[in-house]
Amino acid sequence: MNYAWNWDVLVQSPYLGWLGQGIAMTLAVSVAAWVIALSLGTLIGIVHSGASGAMRLVTGAYINLFRNVPLLLQMFLWFFVVPELLPKAAGTWLKRELPHPEVVTAIVALGLFTASRVAVQVAAGIAAVPRGQSMAARASGLSTIQAYRFVLLPQAFRIVIPPMTSEFLTIFKNSSIALTIGVYELTAQTQQIQSFTYQGFEAFTAATVVYMTIALMVTTLMTVIERKVSIPGRIARG
C-alpha cells in the first residue's frame, strides 16, 4: 500500500548511532541485571530448596511477589513509588543525586524480577538431583553445606543450564520494558527512529534482527558451556 520503504535511514547519521547506542544500552542493562538475577536468584533458590519454616516462607514470599506482578508495573513502582516511601534524604538522593537513575532503576527492577525466576529454576534443579545422591553424601559424613557444595550443586548446575539459557534470553527481551521509565535501549531507539523518520518498519526489522542475533549468540554460548561441562559417558540430553 502507501508505505515508502527507505532502508537507507538505518545507515544514516544519527540513526545508525542511535541503533548502536540502543544495542549497547540493551546489552549493558541486560548483563548487569543478569549478574544480580543470577547471584541473588541462585542464593534464594538454594535456601528455598533446603530451608524449612520461616526461611522457606521468606524465600517463597519473595518468589511469589516478584513473579506475580508484571515487570512493567514493577519498574514503575521502583521508579516512582519506592523513593517516596523511603526516608526523605534517601529518597531525594535516589531521585536527584544518583547518576542515571532510570538506568539503575531498570537494572535493579529487571534483576530482582528475574532473580525470582532464576530461584525457581535453581530450586527445581536441586530437586531434580536424585535423592540417593544427598543420602550418599550424608552417609559419608559430609555436612549439609559440603553436600551442597561438592555433590548437589555441581549436578544441579548442569541440569539447570537449559532453563537458564531461556531465562538469559528472556532478560534481553524484558529489557525492552525499561523504555517505559525512559531508558533508551534498543526498542526505545527503534521507536525514536520511527518517530523521527516515520520509517518504522525498517527500524523494527533492524531490532528484530538484532534480537535474533543476540538469541543466536546466547544459545551458542550456552551450548558450548553445556558441552564443556557435560559429564563423560552420559548421553547429552537431546
Binding site: 552417609a139 559419608s140 559424613g141 548442569r158 559429564i231 563423560p232 559417558g233
Partner: protein, 242 residues
C-alpha cells in the same frame, strides 16, 4: 559393636518400623531379608542416622548416635554405606569420588587420600579406572567403586542395601566376591539382600523382617533349615523355588 534398641519410625501416621532391636558384634556379618516394603532399607538408613527416628536408641562402637545433625555426621563417617543404585557422584571421576569425603570429612591431605584410594582400587581390580567417570563403567564396576568409596573412610562397620539387585546377572558375581572377601577379613557387616547364596556363604545370622517388625533372628544354618516363623517359611519358599 552396633546396638539398636526399640527403634520405631513412621512416615506421617504410617508406621514403618515398630520397636526393632538388634545387636551386631564386632566382625559379625548379618543379612537382613524380608518382603518388599517391610522396612529393610529404612532400618539400615536409621542405623547410621540418615533417616531420623521417632523412638529408640542406636549406639555405634559404644557411642550413642547423637540427634544433632553436625554431631551425627561425625559418627556416620565411621559407618560405611553402599546403596542399591551405587549413588556414585556422576560429575566426579572415580578417584575424586573415593577421595571427596576423605579430604573434606576426615581432613586427609589430597596425596594421602589418593594413595588410600589407589590401594583400595587395586584390591577390587579397578586400578585402571581411576580417571573414568561413573557413567563410563558397567554396573558391577560402579558398585565395586561404591564399596571402595565407603572403605576409604576406614569404617568400623559396613551397611549394604541390596547391593546387587540393580545389577545385570553376570555382574552380580564380581560384587559378591568383593563382599565375601570383606566378610572373611572380619569386617562387621549388615547386608540387606535377596541373594540367599551370599547369606549361606557369609552370614553369621539372618534377620527376617515383615511389616516393619523384626520377626525372626536366627543362625544362618538354622534359618534356612527350619525357620521359626510361618511368614519366613512362606517367604523362603517363594524366593527359592524358581
Amino acid at each position: 559393636m552396633i546396638r539398636i534398641e526399640g527403634l520405631s519410625k513412621s512416615y506421617g501416621d504410617v508406621p514403618v518400623l515398630r520397636n526393632c532391636s538388634l545387636d551386631v558384634a564386632r566382625g559379625e556379618v548379618v543379612v537382613i531379608c524380608g518382603p518388599s516394603g517391610s522396612g529393610k532399607s529404612t532400618f539400615v538408613k536409621c542405623i547410621n542416622g540418615i533417616e531420623p527416628v521417632q523412638a529408640g536408641r542406636i549406639a555405634i562402637d559404644g557411642e550413642n548416635l547423637p540427634s544433632k545433625p553436625a554431631a551425627a555426621a561425625r559418627v556416620r563417617a565411621r559407618v560405611g554405606m553402599v546403596f542399591q543404585h551405587f549413588e556414585l557422584y556422576p560429575h566426579l571421576t572415580v578417584l575424586e569420588n573415593v577421595c571427596l569425603a576423605q579430604i573434606h570429612v576426615l581432613k586427609r591431605s589430597r596425596d594421602e587420600a589418593q594413595e588410600k584410594a589407589r590401594s583400595l582400587l587395586r584390591r577390587v581390580g579397578l586400578a585402571d579406572k581411576e580417571a573414568s567417570y561413573p557413567a563410563q563403567l558397567s554396573g558391577g564396576q560402579q558398585q565395586r567403586i561404591a564399596i571402595v568409596r565407603a572403605l576409604a573412610m576406614d569404617p568400623v562397620a559396613m551397611l549394604f542395601d541390596e547391593p546387587t539387585s540393580a545389577l545385570d546377572p553376570e555382574m552380580i558375581g564380581e560384587v559378591l566376591a568383593v563382599m565375601l572377601e570383606l566378610a572373611r577379613e572380619g569386617m562387621t557387616m549388615v547386608v540387606v539382600t535377596h541373594e540367599m547364596g551370599f547369606a549361606k556363604a557369609a552370614a553369621d545370622r539372618v534377620v527376617f523382617m515383615d511389616q516393619g517388625e523384626i520377626v525372626e533372628v536366627a543362625e544362618t544354618a538354622r534359618f534356612f533349615a527350619e525357620p521359626a516363623s510361618e511368614r519366613a517359611r512362606l517367604f523362603l519358599s517363594r524366593i527359592l523355588t524358581h
